[in-house]
Symmetry: C2
Subunit: 244 residues, 2 copies
């Protein structure tokens, strides 16, 4: 059997997250419908769950198949059966034990913020609209304290999916600004539930002066969700890169 | 009475063009509903008509009013009553005889093309998806022949709105490429109905080899719509700047 790795992209504003669920259209469900036209009932493994409204510039899927279609023809073959809001970008054959989720060595998310007193009609579903002028220097001062190997319990929404180890290594975390668009980029070996959105919400509290940059180590130490800032809304968030 | 000039922005994918029409929601209709909450039944003059699906990064409106609201407060006051798909960007007082349409000295449109074999889910309504690799050098070679004062009858859809003089001055026309996004920019003293979309359709024919760059002068001379290329679809088109 061949093991295939797909990279894809989707506009999350059209879906209720990646995972199949009752009473809501998910990316996985719609993808699987199109995918099955070529590959039947092959079991697909997604690299992660994403919440409703969260986008993906790069999302990875792996699956085993006996189908002999040449890899380079797979993207257009599947795309033919997918809605315009998603697209397979590439396909490659990988080792038999490769798994889109378990083989993942890290991911990068970006969070986009439209920072102006006037909204941008083209970004309503694609960036958080934030009036208050953002001070990226101060946000970066706070961000530095989150880089490294830490227990991120304070930056995680507790639900039944998060058990055991809350320690993760944040490899990069930067806040940059181009014109009125602020982008928070974060790379880590793994992410807890809502971790990026809580980090962004906390950095927004920092720029508002509600949290001082040097208070971040204390927030980490407390291991209490309420110590950090609020959870930023989903529509500014993009899964941007997946590392294997 | 004060005469006010507004600049605004809208996502045209939500509307059937600027102008009020029966059986379809237009930008003007929705704008007027919100606008009237502040300025009542003041008569608004738009800088131009735009087709269904066409976007505006800058659209101008003028109107007379006795309302005493300070100009700097007008954008947020109106935006409060507009849907997320449109936004007033600025407001200023202008001379009494200023008219958003008749005082206009020129406009710039841009046309966006996503040039890749795989579609971009985020640009489905915001750029033409075009598979065939575009040769921007050849397109620019053809474009040069359109710059200047010409009769653009061949680049105009004839309907009852176009009468009389079909001569316009194209001041700038360039095709540029950044990664997979090709942008056609065109500035003229005025535009005929569908002129930009027919120019884009013709430049696409040029890159396909169906029209040679040096055939453009002949196409202009023929003054016949069928001499030029097809009309490119509306969703890649943006009114980008209005000059007074």
């Amino acid at each position: 059997m061949r093991n295939i790795l797909l990279t894809m992209m989707y506009d999350g504003s059209c879906f209720h997250g990646w995972q199949v669920q009752q009473n809501a259209v998910s990316v996985q469900e719609v993808f699987q419908q199109g995918f099955s036209r070529i590959f039947g009932n092959a079991d697909i493994k997604g690299c992660s769950r994403t919440d409703a409204g969260v986008h993906a510039n790069m999302y990875c899927i792996s699956f085993h198949t006996d189908h002999r279609i040449p890899v380079e023809r797979i993207p257009s073959a599947i795309n033919h059966y997918l809605p315009a809001s998603m697209a397979v970008l590439s396909a490659e054959e990988v080792a038999d034990d490769f798994h889109a989720r378990y083989s993942c060595k890290g991911k990068e998310y970006i969070y986009k913020i439209w920072n102006d007193d006037i909204r941008n009609p083209f970004l309503e579903k694609y960036a958080l609209h934030y009036w208050y002028p953002l001070q990226t220097e101060v946000m970066n001062e706070a961000a530095v304290h989150l880089i490294g190997y830490h227990d991120f319990t304070s930056f995680c929404t507790l639900d039944n999916r998060e058990k055991g180890d809350f320690r993760r290594t944040v490899r990069q975390l930067t806040v940059s600004k181009q014109d009125k668009l602020v982008t928070v980029s974060i790379e880590a070996d793994g992410f807890l539930y809502n971790m990026v959105r809580i980090i962004v919400g906390t950095l927004l509290y920092v720029t508002q002066g509600k949290i001082q940059p040097d208070e971040i180590p204390m927030i980490l130490e407390q291991k209490r969700r309420t110590a950090a800032g609020p959870t930023a809304p989903p529509h500014g968030l993009y899964l941007n890169r997946v590392f294997y």
